[in-house]
């Protein structure tokens, strides 16, 4: 059981949710998604983003539109379908429940005042 594995498992679960929440705010170009996520300190490779978008699109949650660009060929912008909105709402509910649960649990242990052990962070 190594820490990186657990971390990436955690990240992986919320990745889809994060991407959908970005797209929900309005039609978006994939590299903008990467940038936005990077700003939020959440790294994703474009190489993983594209397959994910295609999968979501094929599932009917997303659709895309060609937008003319002034430098080169038109670009593909993604936007959300009604079905995608429903899907997102469900994910959001689940996320809130989860966040609540995690919050309650972690704050409960804090309340018990377990001696905080300084864990050296050798991850960075």
């Amino acid at each position: 059981m190594d820490i990186q594995n657990t971390q990436s498992q955690m990240r992986k679960g919320v990745l889809e949710f994060c991407i959908l929440s970005i797209i929900r705010q309005g039609e978006v170009y994939p590299s903008d998604i990467v940038d936005k996520m990077k700003n939020a300190n959440l790294n994703i490779l474009e190489g993983t983003l594209y397959p994910l978008l295609t999968r979501l699109k094929n599932a009917g949650y997303l659709t895309y539109r060609w937008v003319e660009s002034n430098s080169g060929p038109p670009r593909k912008y993604f936007l959300m379908t009604d079905q995608g909105l429903q899907f997102y709402d469900e994910l959001e509910r689940t996320w809130k429940e989860l966040a609540n649960a995690v919050e309650t649990l972690t704050s409960f242990t804090e309340g018990k005042e377990i001696l905080p052990v300084e864990i050296p962070n050798n991850n960075q």
Binding site: N5, Q9, L45, Y50, P51, T54, G72, R75, K76
Partner: protein
């Protein structure tokens, strides 16, 4: 100085360095392979390509003249490599930085350098793994190649191996290969062997599938048309009968040996880069390019070390001596290593050869047993025994063969022992085989438990010339398995089986006994023996023996052998022919009788079953084509001097066998050395003369057939 080419990339014209273009091409190819099974893979790759194109034009807009290697590498790093996707998905590996360096090593073959022995993945000395690493192919393929060269080229492969073992330095290498053999779980009919092979050799899946399936289809078709092969049971011959059988076994073995591609990296490795002469050539060229820089570096290095050493020499004489000493020790070590390897290698080689011979023998046993063991139909009775026989053959003999081959190949390919169930399966199958072998042996031996005989007096009329001439009828049987059968000479003189056809077996376990008649007439009686599960069954089987004696005046024609039908089964049937010769009458036996095969008469259990003349055992020996006369003292040749010359035993000549019955030797009384009946007072000298040939025949009558029949006798105990 680099060549720049223009490419049309996603609707943009991009000037790009040729090397950068190669990197880009390889990268996109790796993506294509990674997403090979993804729905909408073309769309994904198209999206990524257009994004790369966009990034390219961004760079060009910033003022770059063209796209360089570094640009491409940077873009690839930002988009990510298949390995990184996997790391992100499965979360199994490293930080982004680590995986990037790892994978960039993968795509820059020039950086891997020299030929080493691979310490981390070795069977013997790691030579094959090192070579495989150098050429970036699967080590198992390299090993199989070496094995082929060794056995095909009279051990040259082995010598090369030893040489490389001594020469090459050892180093722990990271596996760098283009391709590995995997089973493809995503596209399978049975276990994905065929599609894995197809992925490895870059061909359509239907080709290996057809190769595996075709003999099976042909086998089924041919079993419909039956008589194409000579077989007893249609079902097993469909699978095991011919070429298809070996392919079937190969499939099973590959199934067991080749791991399944499970992670994305493995799937990528399964398709891998294209392995062809071109890529290997590229690798070598890149390497040669490196060699130039390396030699330059080397010359300066030599200069340096030389200077250093001369400095050291001045100050430290003692350590220098030590160093030369250690160098001498090193040399001796190398020589010793070579010698040791030579010895160990010879032993290993001998063992390997022995093992291969063992495999061949076992496979031969399998093939011989499975395809058409000609006697099977005559020994095995009933569905139960038939079932036991097949399960003995397949499980008791077949499973170890398959297990052994699997073991060898797993060893060669260094397959990780994934599941112990293979062992359990083999073990339990073999145990079932062992049990059925024991049951079969018990069941068969019970069929041979008791022995019984039936005596039958032949009615013959007394020959007018006071002489009987015995001969065996000319060959009349279709000899299906004439001559050699898997190296065993069935039709030969030593065999109890005269001939074998598809549904009948001709036995020639016939013995002739000549004895003194109680009265003044010739008598012939036939005693037929057989074995069986019970005395009744044995007697029934004995009574079924058809051995007619045909008399034409003085000539008695005996059949060449007797038929056993498949329904009748082989129960070690034997025929004993008792010929009573009255005193003073003559007998001659044709050499064709020598075609009969002797057998041991074990009176132990048969003695009480019937009563016959007690002195039947005191029969007389005889040579063929010699006229004998019965006297009160026994059988005597009429021409004693001929007997010595005419020792037929040594060379029974079948070719000279006459087609038409030869007239018995003249009944001319001038040939007689002894007068009939009355003249029973022989001189002692003449007695001594005849006893010599008699002794000869007794000695030579011990034959292989006696051993064979004795074996069946033992079987029943």
């Amino acid at each position: 100085m680099k060549k720049v080419i223009n490419i049309n990339f996603q609707g943009r014209v991009i000037p790009i360095e040729e090397t950068a273009y190669e990197i880009l091409k390889r990268y996109i190819e790796s993506l294509r392979q990674f997403f090979a099974n993804e729905e909408g893979k073309d769309e994904i790759i198209n999206d990524i390509e257009s994004r790369i194109g966009e990034l390219f034009s961004e760079r060009l807009n910033k003022g770059s003249a063209c796209i360089t290697d570094d640009d491409v590498q940077a873009i690839i790093n930002s988009i990510g490599r298949p390995e990184d996707f996997e790391a992100e998905e499965a979360g199994t590996s490293k930080t982004e930085h680590e995986s990037t360096t790892r994978s960039s090593a993968r795509y820059q073959p020039g950086s891997k350098g020299r030929l080493y022995r691979d310490e981390s993945d070795k069977l013997l000395g790691g030579v094959c793994a090192g070579l495989a690493n150098y050429f970036r192919i699967d080590p198992s393929i390299m090993r199989i190649l070496f094995a082929v060269i060794t056995f095909g080229g009279f051990g040259t492969g082995f010598l090369i191996y030893i040489l490389l073992w001594i020469i090459l330095p050892s180093r722990s290498l990271e596996m760098q290969l283009r391709k590995r053999l995997f089973r493809n779980p995503e596209d399978k009919v049975i276990a994905g062997v065929a599609s894995g092979l197809a992925a490895y050799f870059n061909m359509s899946v239907w080709i290996p599938r057809l190769i595996f399936a075709l003999p099976l289809v042909l086998g089924i078709v041919s079993s419909i048309f039956q008589n194409v092969f000579f077989h007893f049971d249609p079902f097993p011959s469909v699978i095991f009968g011919s070429f298809g059988g070996s392919l079937f076994i190969i499939y099973i073995v590959l199934w067991a040996v080749i791991p399944q591609a499970q992670t994305a990296t493995e799937k990528l490795e399964m398709r891998g880069e294209k392995v062809d002469l071109n890529t290997i050539k590229n690798t070598i060229q890149e390497d040669l390019g490196n060699l130039k820089t390396r030699t330059e570096k080397w010359s300066s290095e030599v200069k340096e070390t030389f200077q250093n050493k001369s400095h050291a020499m001045a100050g430290e004489v003692n350590p220098a001596i030590k160093r030369t000493g250690s160098r001498l020790g090193h040399a001796i070590g190398v020589i010793f290593k070579g010698f040791f390897l030579f010895i160990a290698g010879s032993i290993a080689f001998a063992l390997l050869m022995a093992m291969i011979v063992l495999i061949l023998v076992m496979v031969g046993l399998m093939a011989g047993g499975v395809s058409a063991f000609p006697l099977k139909g005559f020994i095995i009775a009933g569905a139960w025994q038939n079932f036991l026989a097949w399960s003995t053959l397949l499980l008791f003999l077949g499973v170890p063969v398959i297990a052994f081959v699997v073991w060898i190949i797993r060893r060669l390919s260094r397959a990780k022992s994934r599941n112990p169930y293979i062992g359990y399966t083999f073990g339990s199958l073999w145990t079932i085989g062992l049990i059925s072998a024991i049951l079969l042996a018990a069941s068969i031996s019970s069929d041979y438990k008791t022995k019984a005989g039936v005596e039958e007096k032949m009615s013959i009329y007394q020959p007018s010339n006071q002489k009987l001439f015995l001969k065996a009828a000319p060959k009349s049987f279709v000899r299906y398995f004439d001559g050699d059968w898997y190296g065993i000479h069935w039709g030969g003189n030593g065999s109890p089986f005269y001939a074998l056809t598809e549904d009948s077996l001709v036995l020639r376990t016939v013995q002739l006994r000549i004895q003194k008649s109680d009265d003044s007439a010739f008598h012939i009686s036939e005693i037929k023996f057989s074995r069986g599960a019970s005395p009744e069954l044995a007697r029934d089987a004995a009574a079924k023996i058809d051995f007619p004696v045909n008399q034409m005046d003085s000539i008695v024609n005996l059949p060449r052998g007797f038929n056993i039908s498949k329904a009748g089964k082989f129960r070690n049937q034997q025929v004993l022919l008792l010929i009573d010769v009255p005193v003073g009458k003559k007998i001659e036996i044709d050499h064709t009788i020598y075609e009969y095969s002797g057998f041991n008469l074990d009176l132990g259990d048969g003695y009480n079953d019937w009563d016959w003349n007690d002195d039947w055992r005191n029969d007389y020996s005889w040579n063929s084509n010699v006229e004998y006369i019965m006297t009160n003292d026994g059988l005597k040749p009429t021409h004693p001097e001929e007997v010595k010359d005419d020792n037929e035993d040594n060379n029974p000549d079948e070719q000279s066998q006459p087609e038409t019955p030869e007239k018995p030797n003249d009944i001319d009384s001038s040939h007689y050395h002894y007068k009939p009946s009355g003249d029973s007072q022989n001189t002692g000298i003449k007695k001594a003369e005849v006893s010599i040939p008699s002794g000869n025949t007794i000695k030579t009558s011990v034959k292989i057939t006696d051993i064979a029949t004795a074996f069946f006798e033992r079987f029943s105990l």
